[in-house]
């Protein structure tokens, strides 16, 4: 049985699965239920200064895809709408009852040193394990000079992080917004300000759809819509890329990362950890299926680690970083060709339609004794993978590496590259 114990930014938790700062971590009632279900830690829903903000009615928009509910979710809810004192009392009580679980408190206050100093002192008294600075919220708060408005300016990120480190002995995690051109700049600023870790991604600025009857963007509030923060399975690829960038970049390498963005299963979590995250935070999957999903996350990750011979998380943490390279480091002489397993093929012809209409015309649609048959034309196949992706039958189309007889060659050294030493002109 693999050891899932995690130490992230100095904070210990029995497993790497934390609930992200969001409605599931809004109050003691939910958080205690989550801990009973097995979650390793929580980031308490963002606290702000009193008086509390006011939320709208109608808060989520969702994208269903092909009959699958919540491929993506967006929200226009703000930070906690409960009084600061109440939250602090509950945090104190829950941490006392669950000392082995990570209790991190998300914070967002106006961009003045005094505001941060004052709230940090109060949070410290709760016994919480750390704070997460919400520099990511893309709606509602950013218009008030908080959230993403801070996270989008590296100088502000560094400044506020530094205040927090000066005025608190708690670990400081900086939560980054993906709504920037270069995520590494923001992470580097957090690091320069003394951050113990970063967490990412926060939600992506979005409109989930337009109601074609009322002509209002969704989610709709009394006929009007506004942009919200997008999350859920659809954003995972974006989050993975940003985590990977921070993990491999020379300026941010080694900065602990809490991976967030569409994590629904143990496999998603393992991918984030392999690409450099130390732990992960989950929200949409819990909002979709409830807290009990953590059970399979824990056993799935543990079983996979056992099967791979990883005794603890550091054994595979970051193992994929070295393989996340720039395009011009890829081997141009590597070649694969699609192979169709004719015994598994159900003759749907999706590979043919995709290749014929949109790729390289390298699949033949044949009739053999009246039966459909699809065959790869090896000489035309560029190994693009599209047919394998559209094929509905698992393992039917595989991409098989073929010996090109050519040495490893990257664009950097390619004779067609004008900036290469081998440029042939």
């Amino acid at each position: 049985m693999a050891d899932l114990t995690t130490i992230f930014a100095g904070i210990r938790s029995p497993n790497p699965f934390w609930l992200a700062s969001a409605p599931p971590t809004d109050k003691a009632y939910n958080v205690e239920r989550a801990f009973r279900a097995g979650w390793g830690g929580v980031v308490w829903k963002t606290l702000g200064e009193d008086p509390p903000i006011v939320n709208v009615s109608s808060r989520y928009g969702a994208v269903s895809y092909g009959g699958t509910r919540i491929a993506g979710l967006n929200n226009i809810e703000l930070i906690t709408d409960r009084p600061l004192d109440l939250n602090l009392q509950e945090i104190t009580q829950v941490k006392r009852s669950w000392p082995d679980r990570a209790m991190v408190v998300s914070l967002m206050v106006p961009c003045t040193e005094e505001s941060w100093k004052s709230i940090l002192a109060r949070v410290e008294q709760t016994g919480a394990d750390g704070v997460e600075l919400n520099f990511g919220c893309p709606h509602g708060m950013s218009e008030r000079g908080m959230g993403a408005a801070v996270g989008q300016v590296p100088e502000y990120v560094e400044m506020v992080t530094r205040w927090c480190k000066q005025h608190s002995r708690m670990p400081v995690i900086v939560k980054l917004t993906p709504n920037v051109t270069d995520i590494v700049k923001a992470a580097a600023a957090a690091k320069a300000g003394g951050a113990d870790a970063v967490s990412l991604i926060n939600t992506i600025t979005s409109i989930t759809g337009v109601n074609l009857d009322t002509m209002s963007p969704e989610p709709m509030v009394d006929g009007k819509g506004t942009h919200g923060g997008y999350c859920g399975p659809a954003v995972k690829p974006i989050a993975l890329r940003m985590v990977g960038e921070i993990a491999r970049d020379a300026t941010t390498r080694g900065l602990p990362i809490s991976g967030i963005g569409g994590i629904s299963t143990w496999r998603d979590a393992a991918e984030f950890i392999a690409l450099g995250a130390t732990n992960v935070q989950v929200c949409t999957a819990a909002m979709h299926h409830g807290f009990k999903i953590v059970d399979d996350m824990i056993s799935g990750l543990s079983n996979w680690m056992d099967a791979k011979g990883y005794a603890s998380l550091p054994d595979f943490q970051g193992k994929a970083i070295q393989n996340f390279v720039h395009w011009d480091d890829l081997n141009l002489n590597y070649k694969t060709i699609a192979r169709i397993d004719q015994d598994l093929c159900i003759k749907c012809g999706l590979c043919y339609a995709a290749c014929e209409d949109t790729s390289h015309q390298s699949i033949a649609a044949l009739r053999v004794e009246g039966r459909r048959r699809y065959e790869i034309i090896d000489a035309e196949c560029v190994g693009c993978n599209l047919c394998a992706h559209v094929c509905p039958v698992e393992y039917c189309i595989t991409m098989v590496p073929v010996e090109s007889g050519q040495p490893h060659l990257t664009w950097k050294d390619h004779p067609n590259n004008p900036s290469s030493a081998n440029f042939a002109g």
Binding site: C348, L350, R372, P392
Partner: protein, 412 residues
């Protein structure tokens, strides 16, 4: 709904919107889709299913109805398990095929609920065509002709339209007066008049029709039944299953039909299944189908056989009746093996074309060429009165193709 009526309610209730979308999204949208080739009316199955998946029900319904104006009936009665759903690549993969019939019903029900059909009639051509038979073949032909601007007069021997859809199919397959509603939907295109109680050879004359109309289509169906040719066949208590089914479909109160406690149905087709299952639903305690050969020869599909068994019908194979005798107020059927006793015997040993003078027949049915032309100039035929599989969907295709041929014959 009374208890007895509820027993004859929809055999397969419609999919909900959510179920339909999930099912539609299972469809792979195959290239050169095998389901299209398996459909006798060439419906673009993946095309209409995509419409359901995307919420384009009008587009979905149009794709179905432009190939098969009886898309609603076919969604209910087509033996999809031997046609499109058998051809589905999910079947090839050894899994549950897409529920094509059920999805077709979603789209066609939606269209009928709109209260209008999606087609607009062409400008009048001034041509008049007589269609004999208001069943699927005749009305399919009539609709396709009316669509092209021709005037169509339909004659039917019965007092109601619909042919077998109205008189010959189990009630639970055509629940809620569907057959009548569908005819109304079809003729709403305009340009179609129907005269009832007009039977060819009785109150209707083919020669006169040929004189009066620019063309004639015969969709006469099979109105005669086969005989078993065994002693005792005409004893009281022995009826034709088709008459029983028709009577049941037309009964104001089904409870008035009494078959007694024990019912024997003789035959191996869908009529035998429909008769036996409905006998059970009426309350007969013991219903047994006697079939002279094995299950593999039964023309009722395995799905139909399963359906009957689920309703408590016994099926005896290799049980060819040799003679029927009257015993103590009941009937005794003797076979080479076991003997059977029944209060009512229903014969379902096949229907046949009743015959027609003056037109060339082939194997007892009207001889036609590839475009449904008979031996008489200007007279076309299709459906069960010509050779081919006796399926609603085939009759619809015949009517559709004959309409094209008539249109061409009229010089368009």
């Amino acid at each position: 709904m009374s208890d007895i009526e509820s027993r004859f309610a929809d055999a397969h209730p419609p999919l909900t919107h959510a179920q339909a979308v999930v099912e539609a999204n299972r469809c792979y949208f195959c290239h050169d889709a095998p389901c299209i080739q398996a459909c006798p009316t060439d419906i673009d199955v993946p095309g209409f299913i995509r419409g359901i998946a995307t919420g384009n029900l009008a587009g979905a319904a149009r794709k179905i109805l432009e190939q098969n104006i009886f898309g609603g009936a076919c969604a209910r009665v087509c033996p999809t398990e031997i046609l499109c759903e058998r051809a589905c690549v999910w079947t090839e993969a050894g899994e549950q095929p897409i529920a094509i019939g059920a999805l077709q019903r979603v789209a066609t029900d939606w269209q009928m609920a709109q209260g209008e059909q999606p087609f607009i009639r062409a400008a009048p051509t001034g041509k008049k065509i007589a269609v004999v038979g208001a069943g699927p073949a005749g009305l399919s032909c009539a609709h396709a002709l009316a669509l092209r601007g021709h005037e169509v007069r339909v004659f039917d021997a019965k007092p109601k339209p619909g042919g077998l859809n109205e008189y010959g199919i189990a009630a639970y397959k055509m629940a809620d007066a569907f057959a009548a509603r569908e005819v109304e939907f079809i003729i709403s295109i305009g340009g179609i008049d129907i005269e009832y109680d007009r039977e060819l050879g009785e109150t209707l004359n083919l020669a006169a029709l040929r004189m009066e109309y620019d063309a004639v289509f015969l969709g006469l169906g099979q109105t005669a039944v086969n005989r078993m040719g065994i002693p005792g066949e005409d004893l009281p208590g022995i009826h034709d299953a088709v008459d029983f089914i028709a009577e049941l479909r037309q009964a104001e109160d089904k409870a008035t039909l009494n078959l007694g406690r024990r019912v024997i149905v003789i035959g191996g087709g869908n009529t035998a299944i429909d008769a036996a299952t409905q006998a059970r639903l009426l309350g007969a305690e013991e219903v047994t189908i006697l079939y002279r050969r094995g299950p593999e020869h039964m023309s009722a599909t395995p799905e139909e056989q399963r359906w009957a068994r689920q309703h408590g019908v016994n099926i005896h194979f290799h049980a060819a009746p040799l003679r029927v005798e009257q015993v103590e107020g009941a009937l005794r059927i003797l076979t080479a093996g076991q003997n059977f006793v029944a209060d009512t015997v229903l014969k379902a040993v096949g229907q046949k074309f009743a015959g027609l003078d003056g037109v060339r027949l082939e194997n007892g049915r009207i001889a036609v060429d590839a475009v449904h032309t008979t031996s008489l100039a200007g007279v076309f035929a299709g459906g069960d009165c010509v050779a081919g599989q006796d399926l609603t969907v085939r009759a619809v295709q015949d009517g559709k193709l004959a309409a094209r041929a008539i249109h061409a014959f009229l010089g368009f």
